[in-house]
């Protein structure tokens, strides 16, 4: 029997996990290229493509004009003719500029063409508030895209997820949107050096618990873990689940948890009304109604554009305290 020395746990920030994944994906497949605004020479305003131009050259790391429709369409035309593009849309808010390409073209071409097309396209973008960038650079619009058949949507909650989900997205033969949260780009965690995938459509139980389930996306996963620690004092043993992929959604893992804990809350940074949490809550009550001891709660941003002033923005942002408070409020309503 041979013993293998355990590798030192390497911790790197979220932003470096993305850059590392891009490099490894481009090394393994010459058909992978990245196009977007300031992704080449500048290495992206978030630093997620830093170093790639030097290694792969301007043909594969492509600075584009500020033309989101043009860039997104370029990705589609390239994907439909044999390449595996990654299209970087700097801020998720800018997705509104290229909605036709994403919603009417990329998502539907396979179906409209009777299955003959294959669109291995990754749309990579940054969502989230908390940086005083105001209403047009701070939104979390993932629910829009989960509503469109033909698209897959992932939302990494940390560095390990960022790399593994990006690898799975690029290797997938469908259009996949990777929605990162800009306020956790500096978050550090263990990330294996070798290339690896996190399977799409599979949720992760982040923190096991026995009597309450919190289902959270993106940055709200770490906030929910904090909330779970706060709620220990209330006698709660909270299970935190990260769906990782929002579309397709892993209903099974979530329902199993709720059948065990009998109470659930969903949390996301996006505006609560019409958010993806509403869909998750509806699925929980459909599949686990008889097991529920309380209404399924929801935490999200209030129904307002994202404000600029730090004071207002703090008021706007969901966080661990707000999640814990909502859990306590729900338990007050318990049957």
């Amino acid at each position: 029997m041979t013993t293998i020395e355990a590798p030192a746990t390497r911790e790197i920030p979220y932003v470096s996990a993305i850059a590392e994944a891009f490099g490894q994906l481009m090394r393994e497949d010459p058909n992978v290229f990245i196009a977007g605004e300031d992704v080449a020479l500048y290495g992206s305003v978030f630093g997620v493509t830093r170093g790639l131009l030097k290694e792969f050259g301007p043909q594969r790391v492509v600075d584009t004009p500020i033309s989101e429709s043009g860039i997104m369409g370029l990705g589609l035309g390239a994907a439909a003719t044999g390449l595996r593009p990654v299209i970087d849309i700097m801020f998720m808010d800018f997705m509104a500029v290229c909605m036709d390409e994403v919603v009417n073209q990329i998502a539907k071409i396979k179906y409209m063409f009777g299955g003959t097309a294959r669109i291995p396209l990754t749309i990579h973008t940054m969502a989230g508030a908390g940086t005083s960038m105001a209403a047009q650079h701070s939104q979390s619009l993932e629910a829009w895209f989960c509503h469109i058949p033909g698209l897959k949507v992932v939302m990494p909650s940390g560095p390990y997820e960022a790399k593994g989900l990006l690898v799975a997205a690029v290797r997938d033969d469908n259009p996949v949107m990777v929605v990162n949260t800009k306020t956790i780009l500096g978050m550090k965690a263990h990330v294996p050096e070798q290339i690896y995938e996190i399977p799409l459509g599979k949720a992760n139980v982040v923190r096991p618990g026995s009597n309450f389930t919190i289902l959270a996306t993106g940055r709200m996963v770490s906030e929910s873990v904090k909330a779970a620690e706060m709620l220990v004092a209330d006698g709660l043993d909270v299970e935190v689940i990260d769906p990782r992929t929002l579309q397709p959604f892993d209903t099974e893992t979530v329902v199993q948890s709720v059948r065990k804990t009998h109470r659930a809350l969903v949390a996301h940074e996006a505006v609560r009304f019409g958010g993806i949490g509403a869909e998750f809550a509806a699925q929980i009550q459909e599949e686990a109604f008889d097991y529920l001891d309380a209404p399924v709660g929801r935490v999200g941003a209030p129904f307002t554009p994202v404000p600029f002033s730090p004071v207002l923005e703090k008021e706007y942002m969901p966080n661990a305290e707000k999640i814990a408070a909502e859990v306590r409020r729900l338990l007050g309503k318990q049957a």
């Binding site: 393994e28 497949d29 290229f33 043909q59 584009t64 004009p65 033309s67 429709s69 043009g70 860039i71 997104m72 369409g73 370029l74 990705g75 589609l76 035309g77 390239a78 994907a79 439909a80 003719t81 044999g82 390449l83 595996r84 593009p85 036709d100 390409e101 009417n104 073209q105 071409i109 396979k110 179906y111 409209m112 063409f113 009777g114 299955g115 003959t116 097309a117 294959r118 669109i119 291995p120 058949p149 033909g150 897959k152 290797r171 997938d172 033969d173 469908n174």
Partner: protein, 327 residues
């Protein structure tokens, strides 16, 4: 540009096939046999034919909502086309796309499109791919005068010139954006003028004259193939039928006299006169081409009508790809 007799006859044949395909389809739609809306290409045949004779199967095109003519000219299978118009399982898109999404990726036909102006960004992506993969394939982007007002055209034109992509922008200016006359939807008279704003050549071409189209398209496609960048060609043409169908929706937006005036320069008639004058195509031979086209179209219609509708279970198929490109 020297044109061989073979090419001239090929041009004529493609135009006649489009004309016949569209006339019969229009009748079937208005008789209620084909569901939905058909945007017919009659009057504009010289453009599709004059461009497509230069293209190989590996060259791509992006099309428009008025897309049947493009696919017929690129060598599309008439049976699969009619079956698609009829919504049958044997159609190009298994009945899931219909007229506005008819496509044949094996022939480089990247789809008709229901969104005006959707083609240009897709076309530059295909052209980018051609260059990236080291091929000398060319992409031709068909779009109309209406689409030349969409931001997508301008973004794509800029990027095509910037990256020197092997693409040709083929504007079919039929004088109307749906029912709105060109002078009421844009202040320029020649859309080709817009090319200057992007640093590419822009050329106005008589879109009713198949030989003029052939010549201009040949130069632009050769330029793209040689790696010298994009060209904007503006083909002045006219829609003989209505925006939708033959008689259309009863919207009064042009005088019959205007239609008749354009019909005097019917592209099919023009090319037949020219070929007859040159002793290449006798009236009898021309009639035989029409008869053969009609026989093919009737065969396609019979095939479509005898074909099954999709099974209800097909509703949830073809939304996602299950295969994997990389292990």
């Amino acid at each position: 540009m020297d044109i061989s007799n073979g090419v001239l006859l090929d041009l004529h044949r493609r135009m006649v096939r489009i004309r016949t395909f569209e006339e019969e389809a229009g009748k079937l739609m208005e008789a209620g046999k084909i569901p939905g809306a058909l945007h017919l290409y009659v009057g504009e045949e010289a453009v599709a034919a004059g461009v497509m004779v230069h293209l190989r199967d590996s060259d791509q095109i992006t099309s428009t909502h008025r897309g049947h003519g493009h696919l017929v000219a690129k060598g599309g299978d008439l049976r699969k086309m009619y079956a698609e118009l009829y919504g049958r399982a044997t159609g190009y898109c298994k009945g899931k796309g219909g007229s506005m999404h008819i496509s044949d990726l094996d022939l480089g036909m990247l789809g008709a499109n229901g969104i005006v102006g959707a083609g240009p960004p897709i076309a530059i992506g295909a052209a980018f791919s051609n260059k990236y993969r080291g091929t000398d394939n060319v992409t031709v982007c068909f779009f109309g005068d209406g689409a030349s007002n969409e931001g997508t055209f301008h973004e794509a034109a800029n990027m095509a010139a910037l990256y020197k992509l092997p693409v040709v922008f083929a504007c079919e200016n039929n004088g109307f954006g749906e029912f709105t006359r060109q002078e009421r939807h844009q202040a320029v008279h020649d859309i080709a003028d817009r090319a200057a704003g992007y640093g590419m050549p822009g050329i106005v071409v008589d879109g009713m004259d198949a030989l003029a189209v052939y010549e201009a398209a040949g130069e632009a496609i050769a330029r793209a193939r040689a790696g010298s960048g994009p060209t904007l060609l503006e083909f002045k043409t006219y829609r003989f039928f209505d925006h939708v169908g033959i008689r259309g929706m009863g919207v009064i937006y042009r005088e019959d006299a205007e239609v008749l005036q354009w019909r005097e320069r019917d592209p099919v008639g023009l090319v037949e006169t020219r070929l007859a004058e040159q002793g290449i195509l006798s009236p009898e031979a021309a009639a035989a081409v029409h008869e053969a086209a009609l026989a093919d179209v009737r065969d396609a219609i019979a095939f479509a009508e005898a074909s099954p509708f999709p099974e209800p279970g097909a509703l949830m198929e073809d939304i996602y790809t299950v295969s994997r490109g990389v292990a």
